[in-house]
């Protein structure tokens, strides 16, 4: 197991180098001179030349890439052109915001998705099965921004039950410690505030979690049905176990293997920034961070932001691979 993890970590090195090459090239292949964009339609030629000089855009690409790698090795993600702040510290609150949202979205997706899948498999071809799978189909196909706007319209504007935007009550902001606001409010032992913050999480979590939920439900159902046909389940049945015990104790563990893959991949996708959800609910997450940077042609932020997202994605994949082994000791590498 340990050697496997070490091997996987070593394999990460070429992946990471590849990532830096790709992020670096993509940004430089986008048409347009960043100096021109930053200074806007009123810029003079001289100002553009000066800015190119200070940003090092005059250097050959190879030199720019080499400098970038050297900085990365020292943990320096560069400085944002827009805010002039260190990206490595500036990006952390954004990651925390995205993480919090992803955590609750996946919590919703897993709890609802796995159970809906199990029950659908259990009561195959029942009305619940049809309804759940229809719902899952709709869930997979539904545009996120439409769902988000409908949620806002119904629950914030018409019913007034839940807040329409943001991470917290903007009139009464929290003193952030970790920037994970639920955790922060618990550290402050401020349960009323934790409740408010959870209320802010409900709509965006559902909007963001619906697609993964639907995918997980379908995957759980089909995987479960497969496992239910296997010999060992028949043996368990022959021993006289009840249906509940058969499913939750014996079948679920093996049925979960493909589901864990899906959960891992979906978590990676959500952590990579859910730009639509983050935009509609004004959630200051990594997706928004990179998106704003793209608008501004803030090269260092685009590079580092995408790199961080890719890094998180790779780490989650690693994590899922390790989890496989735990779930099914028969898996050999």
């Amino acid at each position: 197991m340990v050697t496997y993890i070490i091997r996987r970590l070593l394999m990460l090195i070429p992946v990471l180098i590849g990532m830096t090459l790709i992020t670096f090239s993509i940004v430089h292949l986008i048409p347009g001179n960043p100096a021109q964009v930053i200074l806007g339609e009123t810029a003079t030629g001289e100002a553009i030349a000066n800015l190119e000089e200070t940003m090092g855009l005059n250097e050959p690409y190879f030199v720019q890439y080499w400098n970038y790698l050297l900085d990365l090795l020292q943990g320096d993600l560069g400085t944002s052109l827009r805010s002039k702040a260190e990206i490595s510290s500036e990006i952390l609150p954004y990651i925390a915001a995205t993480f919090e949202l992803t955590f609750f979205a996946m919590l919703f997706a897993i709890i609802v998705g796995v159970n809906a899948g199990i029950i659908s498999a259990w009561k195959q071809n029942s009305w619940f099965d049809f309804l759940a799978m229809l719902f899952a189909l709709v869930g997979v196909s539904m545009p996120v921004f439409w769902l988000a706007l409908m949620e806002q319209w119904i629950f914030a504007q018409e019913l007034g039950w839940l807040p329409a935007y943001g991470r917290q009550d903007s009139r009464d902001p929290i003193a952030a410690i970790t920037h994970l606001y639920v955790l922060d409010s618990l550290i402050h032992l401020d349960f009323a505030r934790a409740f408010t913050i959870l209320k802010h999480l409900i709509l965006p979590s559902i909007a963001l979690g619906t697609i993964p939920m639907a995918i997980i439900a379908r995957m759980t159902r089909s995987s479960m049905l497969e496992v239910m046909k296997s010999d060992y389940i028949r043996t368990v049945r022959a021993k006289g176990s009840g249906q509940f015990l058969v499913i939750y104790k014996h079948a679920l563990k093996n049925a979960m293997i493909p589901v864990v893959t899906v959960i891992g991949l979906q978590t990676g996708v959500l952590l990579g920034g859910a730009i639509l959800t983050e935009t509609i609910f004004s959630w200051p997450g990594v997706g928004r961070y990179v998106y704003e940077a793209i608008n501004y042609r803030d090269y260092p932020v685009i590079q580092s932001g995408i790199l961080v997202i890719a890094f998180i994605f790779v780490m989650i994949n690693l994590f899922v691979d390790i989890l496989y082994k735990k779930l099914d000791p028969r898996i050999k590498y």
Binding site: N33, Y94, P163
Partner: protein, 564 residues
């Protein structure tokens, strides 16, 4: 299996804690420093104000939430040209002069009086006495001098040029930087603590107008020393509100400055600037009462807001214009008849109606109405396809011609939907026998290539900043700006002379006359089809009183009140 799920949950939690630890270390730095700043401010300025401010904010009274579409770029006003930045810095910092609530008329701010010498080369300002910055530093002439020198001189110890600070608005408005030929400010003399003198090397007709701009607001020199290049996240001025905290892409919090120089102001205890990127979501937040003022209402939603109980619709005066420009040095657009023909062929009213839901007026000058020297006597090019055909025939194009129209890829307040405008123009011109091919480019190459003259027809616009006609007319149409901001390549020596004269003149009536004459010549030469001036719309809840939107897009909230 439950065990496995809980293992999964536990690993998630571990990751949460890991992240928490990370953000606790690194992320806290900017916040800590801003918290320190707030605490120090309170200690040095007034021990009691801290408690008061906290009480006020805790009770929730007098807390105004202002929602906009994007975050500020920098809270150091001189180093940015971003409107979302000056919207906030306007509350925190003040300049020597400022503008009237709803126009570009000048009024005193940190300078209560000023004198201009006969030759227009010496400006003396008499400063308010007894004013302190939010950090307790006294405001005086030396502070003014430090700020201006910082913008003018990249070598200055507070210029932070190595960190990428560029004071482009200063360069644009005062003709360059220290040591450059066009730079107009020769020297700045501190006469005494409350009297300061600016000596120019050539007259500048809009010098005072520049000083009213929010970009030239005065920062505490002590804060420049303390924060260094982090001054863009820690603004310290003399304004009605002091800076408390900034969560990027989320919110900026400002609290009432108890020692504000104007008695009884500000009326609010706290102002929060929230970022809500989506226009529809922002309107929902306004309806549900989570925010009080929203910028950037879709013109299509304006009618609904106006009819709705509990909401108010507000408009800003027009301060921009959108246009279809000609490359006047390229065939066949070098012929004035062709340019005039196209001008007659485009239905400007149809564009105003289709795109701005009525919140725009058709433009006949490249200058918004209400500006100094706006020439109302200029005859507009009405929609007249017959006349257009006639003119084309006169120019020798009775069989029609082919032309390229470049379309900008981004929306701007002056041009909310360039794609639709280009299609209307295409149809209009097809009616008079001109076959238009639409060319699409990315934004940066679009700006670059139109500067280099690769285009024929193009779509663009311009927004005002200091409320002076020079910023519109000279930037866009002066011959010396070909290759820098004059994309029509229009060169008319007579116009150039008029514009230069107006730039140098001190007497505002004389300037108005010169600009009026220039507009007449420009209209005859028709280097561009001026389409519309848009009036941006915004909405507030009915609780908000005394809020007056300023044409520059940033306004002081000092007098705004919340009334139940």
């Amino acid at each position: 299996m439950r065990l496995r799920l809980s293992l999964l949950a536990a690993l998630f939690l571990a990751f949460v804690l890991f992240l928490a630890a990370c953000s606790g270390d690194g992320g806290a730095n900017p916040d800590e420093s801003s918290d320190d700043a707030a605490a120090e401010t309170d200690e040095t300025a007034d021990g009691e104000s801290e408690g008061e401010a906290e009480e006020a904010s805790a009770s929730g009274d007098g807390v105004l939430v202002f929602a906009r579409g994007g975050d500020s770029e920098s809270l150091d006003p001189g180093s940015t040209t971003d409107g979302e930045s000056s919207r906030v810095t306007q509350q925190v910092l003040e300049g020597l002069l400022t503008f009237e609530k709803d126009s570009f008329e000048l009024k005193p701010a940190l300078a209560h009086d000023w004198e201009v010498s006969e030759d227009g080369l010496k400006y003396t300002f008499y400063l308010e006495e007894g004013v302190t910055f939010h950090d307790g530093t006294p405001f005086n002439a030396e502070a003014v001098k430090v700020n201006f020198e910082r913008w003018a001189d990249p070598e200055h110890e507070y210029a932070f040029a190595d960190e990428g600070y560029v004071y482009s608005m200063y360069g644009t408005m005062f003709g360059g930087y220290k040591g450059e030929e066009g730079h107009v400010i020769e020297e700045i003399n501190v006469v005494n603590d409350y009297e300061i003198e600016f000596v120019l090397n050539q007259p500048l007709g809009f010098f005072l107008q520049n000083l009213g701009m929010s970009y030239f607001a005065i920062t505490s020199p002590a804060a420049l020393e303390e924060y260094g290049p982090e001054i863009n996240e820690n603004p310290v001025g003399t304004g009605p509100f002091k800076f408390v905290s900034w969560t990027k892409d989320d919110s900026i919090i400002l609290d009432k400055f108890e020692d504000y120089r104007v008695e009884g102001l500000p009326k609010l205890d706290r102002v929060i600037f929230e970022v809500i990127p989506d226009n529809a979501a922002r309107l929902i937040a306004l309806r549900s009462g989570e925010i009080d003022i929203m910028d950037g209402l879709n013109p299509d939603d304006a009618a609904g807001v106006e009819a709705e109980d509990g909401l108010e619709l507000l408009t800003r005066s027009e301060n921009n214009f959108g246009y279809v420009g000609f490359n006047t040095q390229k065939e066949p657009l070098d012929k004035v008849e062709v340019r005039q023909a196209i001008n007659y062929a485009i239905d400007k009213q149809a564009i105003a109606d289709a795109l701005y839901a009525g919140y725009a007026t058709t433009a006949k000058n490249p200058l918004p109405p209400g500006y100094l020297g706006y020439n109302d006597d200029v005859e507009a090019y009405g929609y007249d396809p017959d006349k257009a055909r006639e003119l084309l025939a006169e120019a020798g194009f009775e069989d029609g011609l082919d032309i390229e129209l470049w379309t900008m890829p981004v929306a701007r307040p002056y041009m909310p939907d360039p794609e639709t405008v280009s299609q209307i123009v295409q149809n209009n011109l097809a009616d008079v026998g001109i076959n238009v091919t639409i060319v699409r480019e990315e934004w940066a190459p679009y700006l670059e290539k139109t500067l280099q003259g690769e285009h024929q027809l193009f779509i663009l616009g311009w927004s005002g900043t200091n409320g002076d006609p020079d910023y519109f007319l000279s930037s866009l149409l002066h011959g010396s700006n070909v290759g820098s901001s004059n994309r029509t390549f229009y060169v008319n020596e007579e116009v150039d002379e008029l514009l230069d004269g107006a730039k140098r003149a001190i007497d505002q009536d004389e300037r108005a006359e010169l600009y009026a004459k220039a507009q007449e010549l420009i209209s005859q030469d028709s280097p561009m089809v001026t389409l519309v001036h848009s009036t941006p719309v915004m909405a507030t809840t009915s609780k908000v009183k005394n809020y007056v939107p300023h044409p520059s897009t940033s306004e002081s909230l000092a007098e705004v009140e919340l009334v139940e």
